[in-house]
C-alpha cells in the first residue's frame, strides 16, 4: 500500500499528468476571465482546490476539475518525493536540483503571497493628507463615536459579517446592530426607475430613495457598490432601520444614551502610524498627443513617532517602499488634481527573486554542461 503510494507520488508520469492538467487549468482560467472578470476567475480557478459546476437554478455544486491549490500542492509533493527517489549526489545533476528547488520556492512564495499579501489604495487630492489606505474590494460598516472633541472611537465591522439576519455585537458599542438587508452591489436612485424598489427605512437619510440590487461587478476597473439596511438595537429596543451605502457620501448620524454616533458603509481602511500628504501630481504627455509619458506624485511622508519627515517622488516603475509596504503610482483623477497610489503589504515579496536566481542558475548550469560538449563535437566535424 505504502509502496504503491510512494511509486505514484514519485513517478514522472504523475508529473506529466499534473502539468497537463495545469496547462488546461491555466488556459480555461484565462478564457473564464472574459465573462467572470479577473478577480472572480482568479478565486474560482487558481485560489481554490476544485472548480465547481453549479447546475442552473440549483444550490449544490459538483467539483469537476482540480483547482490551482490542489494542482500546485500535488506538484510540490510530487517534486519533493521524486527527488528523494531519483536524487544522486554529484555534479552532474546539480543544475536539476537548483531548478527544482527554485520552483519549490516559487510555489511556496506564491502561496505565502496569496495568504499574506494585502492590497489597498490611497487616493489623495493635491494638498490632502491621509493616514490610512482603503481596500479596493472589502467594505466595512464603520460606527464612530464622535462625542469627544479631540478623538473619535471607531468600531469597524467587516462586510463578511454583514449577512442578512445577522446581529453584530461589539464590546465597544452599547447597542447591537442587526443586518436587515445586504446587497453586495447596488445602485441607488432618487426616483422609481424600472428594476428599483423603495428603500423604506424608518430613520435617517435616504428614506425616500430607490434601490436596485446588482450582481458582483466583473469588469476589472469597476468596483461593487454595496448597500445595507441596518437596525441598531439598544436595551430599550430598536433605533429604527437605517440605510448605509457606499453610494452615500455622508454618514448617518444618531444619538444613543447621550452620545453621538456616525454610521457609514465605506471601503475597509488600513490605518498607519504615519501620514502621507500629496504635494504635487504631474501627468506628462508626449508633445502633440494624449499618450501619457509619465505620472508622478510628490508626497510628504510624516512619521512623528520616528521624527521622520521627508518628501518623496513616486512614479511609474519607481515605487516607495516604507514600513513593510510598497506605494505605487497606480492611477489619477481625470482633472489631474488627484493621485491614486496602490499600497501593497507582501511579506513574501522577495521569494520570487531568490527563486528566479536559483532556477536561472540551475538552467544555465544544465544547459552549459550539455551545450558546450555538443558545440565542441559539432564544430570539430
Amino acid at each position: 500500500m505504502f509502496e504503491a503510494l510512494y511509486r505514484i507520488f514519485t513517478s514522472l508520469r504523475l508529473t506529466v499528468v499534473l502539468l497537463a492538467l495545469s496547462a488546461v487549468l491555466v488556459f480555461w482560467g484565462t478564457l473564464a476571465q472574459v465573462p467572470m472578470g479577473l478577480y472572480r476567475a482568479q478565486n474560482e480557478f487558481f485560489r481554490s482546490f476544485f472548480i465547481y459546476w453549479q447546475p442552473a437554478g440549483s444550490t449544490w455544486k459538483i467539483p469537476i476539475f482540480p483547482g490551482g491549490y490542489l494542482l500546485g500542492g500535488l506538484l510540490l509533493i510530487n517534486l519533493l518525493a521524486a527527488h528523494t527517489r531519483y536524487y544522486q549526489p554529484g555534479k552532474k545533476k546539480i543544475g536539476i536540483v537548483f531548478i527544482h528547488f527554485g520552483v519549490v520556492l516559487l510555489l511556496v512564495g506564491q502561496l505565502l503571497t496569496d495568504l499574506l499579501a494585502v492590497e489597498s489604495t490611497l487616493h489623495l487630492r493635491v494638498g490632502e493628507t491621509k493616514n490610512y489606505s482603503e481596500s479596493q474590494r472589502d467594505y466595512e460598516l464603520a460606527v464612530v463615536d464622535v462625542s469627544e472633541a479631540e478623538s473619535d472611537f471607531v468600531v469597524a465591522i467587516p462586510d463578511s459579517l454583514l449577512r442578512p439576519g445577522a446581529e453584530v455585537r461589539h464590546p465597544g458599542l452599547p447597542f447591537a446592530i442587526r443586518v436587515r438587508r445586504y446587497c453586495v452591489n447596488s445602485a441607488l436612485a432618487t426616483n422609481a426607475l424600472p428594476g428599483f424598489e423603495r428603500v423604506n427605512t424608518t430613520a435617517g437619510l435616504g428614506r425616500d430613495l430607490w434601490l436596485q440590487e446588482l450582481p458582483h461587478e466583473t469588469v476589472m476597473d469597476r468596483r461593487d457598490v454595496p448597500t445595507a439596511i441596518v437596525e441598531p438595537v439598544g436595551g430599550n429596543g430598536s433605533l429604527g432601520t437605517w440605510l448605509v451605502s457606499a453610494f452615500l457620501a455622508r454618514p448617518q448620524h444618531f444619538e444613543f444614551e447621550g452620545r453621538h454616533y456616525e454610521m457609514s458603509l465605506r471601503p475597509r481602511r488600513y490605518y498607519k502610524p504615519f501620514s502621507i500628504h500629496l504635494i504635487e501630481f504631474k501627468h506628462e504627455r508626449y508633445p502633440g498627443t494624449e499618450i501619457p509619458k509619465n505620472f508622478q506624485s510628490r508626497v510628504l511622508l510624516d512619521h512623528p513617532a520616528r521624527g521622520e519627515r521627508r518628501e518623496v517622488d513616486i512614479y511609474m516603475n519607481n515605487p516607495l517602499r516604507y514600513w513593510g509596504e510598497t506605494y505605487y503610482q497606480a492611477s489619477y483623477d481625470r482633472d489631474d488634481r488627484g493621485s491614486v497610489l496602490q499600497v501593497v503589504r507582501n511579506p513574501g515579496w522577495l521569494t520570487p527573486y531568490f527563486a528566479c536566481v536559483l532556477v536561472a542558475v540551475g538552467m544555465v548550469i544544465q544547459f552549459m554542461t550539455h551545450l558546450i560538449p555538443f558545440l565542441k563535437r559539432r564544430l570539430a566535424v
Binding site: S11, L12, R13, T15, V16, L19, A20, S22, A23, V26, F27, G29, T30, Q33, V34, L38, A41, Q42, F45, F46, L106, G109, Q110, T113, A117, E119, M220, R285, Y286, P287, G288, T289, I291, P292, K293, N294, M316, N317, P319, T326, Y328, V343, V344, W349, P352, Y353, A355, C356, V359, A360, M363, Q366, F367, H370, L371, F374, R377, R378, L379, V381
Partner: protein, 656 residues
Amino acid sequence: MKKWIPALVAAVMAAWVLAQFRPRPEPGFRLREFAQLPVLMNGRFQPFDSVARNSLLQIRTKQTVPVQHDGARHTFSAIEWLLEVMMQPEAADERPIFRVDNVELLSLLQLPEGRKYYTFAELRPSYDEINRQALRIEKIESAQRTAFERALMKLFNAVSLYQRLKVTLKPPASDDFAAEIAEYERVIPGGVAAVRARQAGKEFDETVFNRLLELMSGYDAMARFALPLVIPPAHGRAGDHDWQTLGAALMGAVHQTEWPPAIKWYARMVSGWRANKPEVFNSALAEYQQWLGEHYPRQVFKVQWEYRFNVFQPFYRALVIYILALVLALISLLTFALLPGFAETLRRSAFWLVALAVGIHTIGLIFRMALEGRPPVTNLYSSAVFIGWAAALLGLLLERFYRVGIGLIVASVVGFTTLVIAHHLSLGGDTMEMLRAVLDTNFWLATHVVTITLGYSAMFVAGLLAILFIILGVFTPLLNQPLGAVASPAGSANADPNRPSIGSVFTNMVYGIICFATLFSFTGTVLGGIWADQSWGRFWGWDPKENGALLIVIWCALILHARWAGLVRERGLMNLAIFGNVVTSFSWFGVNMLGIGLHSYGFMDAAFKWLVLFVASQLAFIALGLLPLRYWRSFQNAPQTAASADQPMATRPAEP
C-alpha cells in the same frame, strides 16, 4: 558545381539591396529633400516621409498610389501623395485610396461593388452618415463590434486622418497661399485695431475687420484639426512642446511681432507647388533646410536617418531574400538523392542568402533601436520582427552544425512568415509609436521582453522542425538516411553507417531547442513577474498575458518530463513540439484578442481568423504525425530503423 555560384547569388542580392542608395538626380520639385523635413507627430520627431508612408498604409494598406496622368498610368510614392493631399487637396480627393471591403458598408454608402479602393469625392456624400454611425460604434467596446462596425470604424479613422492631413499646410479655401499670408500680415495691425474698436463700441473699419476674421477662421480650422506639428519655434532653445501646427502658429501670429520663419517658407512651397513652379518650391525648401540645419541640427539628423531607414526598407528586402533562400533550400532537399552536387550548390547558395537576409534583418533591427533609443521589442510589430530575427539566426546556427538544409528551411520560413505578420501589424499606424508611461523603462524592455520573445522564437523553431520531421518522414525516405549523405557528393551509398540518421538529428535538434525555449520562457516569465512587482506591486496576477507565458513554461516542462518518463519517443516529442506552436501563438496573439487585462493594449481583431487557421493547420500536422509508422515513407522499408526510432530516448539532450 562551381564553388563561386553561391557567392555570386548572394552578391547579386546584396547589389539589389544597395541599389536603393545610389544617388539619383531629381529634376523639378525636390521631393526627396522635402520628404526629410522634420515634423512632430505621435509625440516624436519624424520626417514627412514617415508621415506619408504610415498614413498611406493606414488608409490604403499600401505605400503607393496608382494614378492616371495624361492618359498614362503612373505610381505616386507616399511622399508625392502626401504633398498633393497637403498642397492640392482638390486633386487628392479624386485618388482612389480608401479601401472598403465590407459589403454591408458598401451598400450603406451606396458605393459600387467590385472595386477595392474609393476616392474621397465618392465618400463625401455619405460623410455625415459615416460620422453618425461612428458616434454610435465608438461607445461599443472593440471586442464586441461586428465585422460591419469594425469596417466602418476603420473607414471613419482613415477619413478622419485624411481630413486632418489636408489642413496641415494650407487652409481649405486658399490658392496662392504665400500671397494670402502676405495679405494676412498686412491686415493684422488694422484688423486688430478694428477688433479693439468694435469691443470698445467705437467706429471701426468693417472691411479690414471682416477680412481678418475670414482669414483667421481658416487658420482656426487648421489649428483645431491638423495633426503633424510642422512649425518649429523661432528659436532652437525652445522645448519640444513649443512646436505647433501651422494653423496654431498663424493664430498666434496675431499677437506676435516675430513670426516663426517656417510659416512663410511652407507658404511659398504651397504656392510654388500649386502654380507648378519648381524653382519657387525648391528655393523656399532650400532656405528652410538651411535654417533648420542651424537651429535644429539634432532633429534634422534624427529624421534624416529615419528617412534613410524608410528608403532602405530592410525588413521588406530581407523578406524577399528569405523567400528566395527557401525556394533554393527546398529544391536542394528534394534533389539531393538524384543530383547531389547540384543540391549541395543550391544548399550553399541558400545558406549565403539566409546569412545575407539575417544580416539585413540585423541591420534593420539595430537601425530601429538607434532611431527609437529603445531595446528591440516595444510593441507587437517589433516582437514579430524580433521573433523572426532570432529564429532565423537559430536556423542558421543549426545549419552550421548539421549541413542538410533543414536549418535553412526553418530560418527562411520563420523569417518570411514573421515579416509578413509584421507588415500586417504595421497597417495599424506608426510602428515607432511612443511608449505609454508604464512601459517606459528600457531596463525591463531589454530583459523581460527580450527573453520572453527569444522563448517564443525557440518554440516556433522547435515546432517548425517537428512539422518538417513529419512531412519529410511521411512523404520522403529522407529521415532514414544517415547524416552526411546529403552533404557528401558521393551520395548515400558510401556514407558511414555509424553516422546518425537525419531523423535522429531532428530529434536532437528539437529536444535541444525545447530546452533552450524552457530556459528563456521561464526566465522571461519570472522577470515579467519581477517587473510587475516593481511597477504595480504584485509578482503574479493571473493576467492573460502572464498566463500565456506560464502556459509556454508548463508546456515545455511537460515535454521534457514526458520524454524523461519515457511517455513519448521520437514522434511523440514532435507532436508535442507542434502543439507548442499552438500554445505559443496563443500566448503571443491569442491573449491580446481577449481584450482584458493589463496587457490588452495590443488588441487586434482581423488576426483572429488567421490564428484559428494556424491552430487548425497545426492540429492537422499532429494528426498526420499520428499516422502509423508503416505508412511513413522514411520508415516503411527499414524496419530496423523504425524500431530504433521507437526506442526510448535516453535523457541526454542534443547529442548526435
